[in-house]
Amino acid sequence: MHTETAPVLLNTAQMATFAARGFIRLDAVVPPHINAQFLADVAPPQTSAAPSTQRITKHYARIMRDSTIPLVNPGTPLKTAYPPASAIAQMLRLPYIRGAINSLVGTDAVVDHHFLHITFPPAYHRGARHAQTSQPTHQDSTIDPRQAFDVQLFYFPQAVTAAMGGTRFVPGSHLRIVSEAALARYQNIRGQQHVVCPAGTVLFFHMGLWHGGGLNQSEDLRYLFKIRLCPTARQCRLWDTTDQPLSTGARPIFWTDGATQADHLFSILTHPEPWYEADTSRLEFINRIKFWRYLSGDETFDADYWLTRIENEFK
């Protein structure tokens, strides 16, 4: 029998940060015994064979054949997708994980797909026709202009060092409408982050967040288990809304008293990323405000007059 602890929902500040930046990061949220169970299931057996590119293919084939990671049809309810005693199911039951999932995609989310991403160290690439490289920057799936959104749960069961090439991502890129690998020309973007984290860290990405796997220059295999989750109902005020009011009056803009209000909902939604173009940063604010209208269900919401100004139309 599995004990159920109440999920810890995201609060409004966390949800606004997700709306603005496109990700939530929960460091070391998964306890060691679950990480150990997961790694014992997927880690390679000790072998004296020299690493090679052939071993990458064999490695994946073995894990797909032997691990307990189940085959899951798209559209399977998350609640029933994983054997209850599996490390994945235990991870998903953790209060902070379940709370984040419920806050983002609801209690009846379904699985789109999952995959165990393994980034192999240099020894596995020796003798290959092409040099070992990082994964180009991309947006998953395809052009997706919805306001409803999927999330991608990224579970790092082991500690990830800088040398291991943790997932690179571009905060604030999730609302840009682009086409998957069309981004590959963008090698580096100011403000990009690389996941360096303690074991048991989980990140939730909005489906549109630009990202790519890093270059593993360590001697160890790097594991990332990803689950893409889809909502089955409108995502409206699913989080804990008690920490700050969702609707507040306007505040002075541009000519202010100079006081910073970093935690204010409007400030979170209008904080630019260092890579935004001067003009498109304002479009990003507008698109975040539209996104917040969708999330909050308040079609009159505005932050710092960005939408009110251009909606001041007369017929």
Binding site: R176, I177, Q187, E277, A278, N287
Partner: protein, 103 residues
């Protein structure tokens, strides 16, 4: 008989800078490099600091500007949509390589 002189060839290095505005002297917000000489290999995520602060700084370091993004009108109904990086500048340098390095 004198020793043969190593044959030198030209190869292209390409630098792509993404800037904060349409002005060439505005700040770099994204960058990519491709080295046809084979001396260096650049790839996604290989640096967190740009090679130049502005596009103009690249010119001053000898990069030749090949192409800039045009300024396009905004399609009706699509004015607020954001997508690809907007201000792309492509530069080149020609470098000499020895024949033995050429591919």
């Amino acid at each position: 008989m004198p020793a043969p002189t190593p044959q030198t060839l030209q190869r292209q290095q390409v630098l792509v800078l993404y800037l904060q505005t349409s002005a060439l002297d505005s700040l770099v917000v994204g960058w990519s490099q491709y080295d046809g000489s084979g001396e260096t290999l650049h790839m996604a995520g290989d640096s967190d600091e740009p090679p130049y602060a502005t596009g103009l700084d690249a010119l001053r370091d000898g990069w030749r500007l090949l192409q800039i993004s045009p300024l396009l009108p905004h399609a009706s109904g699509d004015e607020l949509r954001t997508g690809y990086l907007k201000y792309e500048y492509v530069f080149e340098k020609l470098v000499q390589v020895e024949h033995s390095h050429a591919h």
